[in-house]
């Protein structure tokens, strides 16, 4: 197991290197705008633009730029400084991380609490009216994009702008340390919006897995032993049906921790995803690079975590 983890971590580092390099190449080969010109502002003299270009090191070939970037990253864990406002990208990201974690973890709890019970109820009586209603509803939820659901939910329920003034509106986010009540209120709509598609997807996965599991021979054995049907389902059925769901959840959390981009934009939450979006609109390479690496880091390590977790969940899996 130890050797396996070391090997996986080394591969992860290599993968992150490749990701950062590719981001660099893409940005240099297909520049969306000239960062120096953007920074110089309107009516800037060519000399000023040139000077800014030199100051940012943009006059050097891109591999030299990449080398300096890597050096800073490895030696000082320095992600560089924003072209846009000269702030340290690392501290910008870390200051936004709590907001992203709030959105992700809260959303995760909501979608698991909705998705899994719905999936179980549907699986117990497949093709019943209840099953059809819930699976039909889940199809709608999966199909509705976050920006649409988010705007509709704001229109209906947000304080200030909504028809029913129930929950915090867009831009009302405050850190939990500042005011837990307002924090919670501001995140209700983002959580529900973010979790809608996930809950629906997890409900369908749970349903499918559980129906399949209930046809397994060991379920028949459990019944033949004289177990109560409720115990057959909750113990023997779910133990097998939920294992893949748990690992999927790990990966989805990793993905979202890199920035729940759409949700953060729609609800104007100052998280990593929104930062990434602003970085792209500003052609702010260090910030793009930083958020991409950051997101990749979470995805890669969530994968690793899930693989290790799987060995504990499924006794048949071992790593050597």
């Amino acid at each position: 197991m130890g050797a396996y983890i070391v090997r996986r971590v080394l591969w992860a580092i290599l993968l992150l290197l490749v990701v950062s390099f590719l981001t660099f190449v893409i940005f240099n080969v297909f520049p969306s705008a000239d960062p120096a010109a953007l920074r110089a502002g309107r009516n800037a003299t060519p000399a000023l633009v040139e000077q800014i270009r030199r100051n940012l090191g943009l006059d050097k070939p891109f591999y030299t730029q990449y080398w300096y970037y890597l050096k800073g990253l490895v030696e000082h864990f320095n992600l560089g400084y924003s072209y846009y406002n000269s702030e340290s990208v690392k501290s910008e990201i870390f200051s936004r991380l709590p907001a992203t974690i709030s959105v992700t973890v809260g959303g995760f709890i909501v979608w698991m609490l909705i998705g899994i019970p719905v999936g179980i109820v549907s699986a117990i009586k497949p093709r019943s009216i209840l099953d059809r209603v819930m699976m039909g509803g889940s199809l709608v939820a999966i199909s509705a994009p976050v920006y649409f659901l988010g705007l509709v939910s704001l229109f209906l329920f947000a304080k200030g702008t909504g028809q029913l003034q129930w929950f915090g509106a867009a831009g009302s986010y405050v850190p939990i340390s500042q005011n837990p009540g307002t924090w919670f209120d501001s995140l209700i709509l983002p959580w529900l919006t973010l979790s809608a598609a996930f809950a629906a997807f997890y409900a369908r996965m749970t349903r499918g897995n559980l129906i399949e599991t209930m046809h397994e021979d060991y379920i028949r054995t459990a019944r033949a032993k004289g177990l109560r049907e409720s115990r057959v389902i909750t113990k023997h059925g779910l133990r097998a049906a939920l294992t893949p769901i748990v690992t999927m959840a790990g990966m989805d959390i990793g993905l979202l921790l890199g920035g729940a981009i759409l949700t953060e934009i729609v609800f104007n939450i100052p998280g990593v995803g929104r930062y990434a979006y602003l970085a792209i609109t500003n052609s702010d390479l260090p910030a793009i690079q930083g958020t991409v690496l950051f997101g990749a880091f979470f995805i890669v390590f969530a994968n690793l975590f899930v693989d290790i977790l799987y060995a504990f969940l499924d006794p048949r899996v071992t790593y050597g």
Binding site: D217, T221, A224, L227, R239, A240, T243
Partner: protein, 339 residues
């Protein structure tokens, strides 16, 4: 009175393709300490019959009729809640593939403890002790360690032993063994059969042994029932069935057993064709499309299951004398059938 008595059992399942008539009018009776062998090809309805005894076929799309009398109660009309007291405790079942029949995520010992504790209010450590005893009694070496094993850590034979230990931990009156050796190596097959036999003799458990292997039946059964397309075609005491079989299907089964004492020039003769779909069962005798002797009435009407002598039931249109004559001729042709 018989321990278990099935009367005119019908089981069918509605599917998208049509109604699958899996069991059509099966009757049988099983006495204490006896072994009933149920033989037939895949899809002959033998497993469905067995699973219906324990109510394991109570699916929403199933239609079940008839009577299954056990201990003065009809298991068919019994609520699933009451049936749970019979399942495992009084009638236990083991299945074909012990790997897929054991839960892959739970330790084997734990699964047996669970079976004990559903039916008996015993503390966990006592149940564990009894489980280890049961594992020992089925010949699993170092049962204390094996208690902690997961199914995938055991060999196929050991897994089936563990299944048997689970089935017998509660000393059931009846053990239903649904193709218990089909998924096992030949060498292990014999061991498992011997184990079932020994346990039957020790505990007086009656056994319903489902198999497609007449060799297994010859070794174990007191009575034999031959099933085809959901129906019983022939039923007789074991010795009668092997020495004086009267149904052409049974002859076919006997001819298709590979035998070491057969002359090398004698080729194995399988039954031509394949079993019918249970959605579209042939008109007349269900076996007539594959029967080389089918007389004209077999194309039109289904023969009843009738006694040809006391204790020997046959479902065939051929006259009794004709059947006996044909069997003698077959034996002459293949002398190996005489033993």
């Amino acid at each position: 009175m018989a321990l278990l008595e099935i009367e005119d059992l019908h089981v069918s399942f509605k599917t998208i393709d049509g109604v699958v008539r899996a069991v059509e009018g099966v009757s049988l009776s099983l006495d204490a300490r006896k072994t009933l062998g149920v033989v037939g090809e895949s899809g002959s309805g033998k497993s469905v019959t067995a699973q219906t005894i324990l109510g394991l076929t109570r699916f929403p799309n199933a239609t079940i009729s008839g009577r299954i009398m056990f201990d003065g109660h009809d298991l068919l009309t019994m609520s699933t809640e009451h049936l749970r007291d019979v399942r495992g405790a009084r009638i236990a079942m083991i299945f074909q593939d012990p790997l897929s029949s054991l839960h892959p995520f739970f330790k084997v010992g734990h699964q047996i403890v669970e079976a004990i504790r559903v039916h008996e209010d015993v503390p966990r450590d006592l149940a564990k002790k009894r489980t280890i005893e049961a594992l020992r009694s089925v010949g699993i070496p170092s049962p204390d360690e094996r208690f902690e094993s997961f199914p995938h850590e055991m060999s196929g034979g050991m897994r089936q032993r563990a299944m048997i230990a689970m089935a017998l931990a509660l000393r059931p009156d009846i053990l239903i063994a649904d193709e218990p050796t089909t998924a096992l190596d030949v060498t292990v097959q014999a061991q498992v059969l011997e184990l079932i036999q020994a346990l039957r003799d020790d505990f007086g458990t009656a056994v319903i042994l489902i198999t497609h292997d007449l060799g297994v039946v010859a070794q174990m059964a007191d009575d034999v029932m031959v099933m085809y397309a959901g129906r019983v075609l022939e039923q007789a005491p074991r010795d009668t069935l092997f020495t004086e079989p009267e149904h052409p299907y049974t002859w076919g089964l006997l001819q298709s057993i590979p035998r070491l004492d057969a002359p090398r020039t004698d080729r194995l003769s399988p039954i031509a064709g394949s079993p019918p779909s249970l959605i579209n069962v042939p008109r007349g005798c269900t076996f007539h499309p594959r029967c080389p002797y089918a007389p004209p009435p077999a194309f039109e009407t289904e023969p009843p299951l009738e006694p040809s002598q006391p204790g020997h039931l046959v479902r065939c249109h051929l006259p009794i004398e004709e059947r006996r004559r044909l069997w003698l001729a077959l034996q002459k042709e293949h002398p190996v059938l005489q033993s």
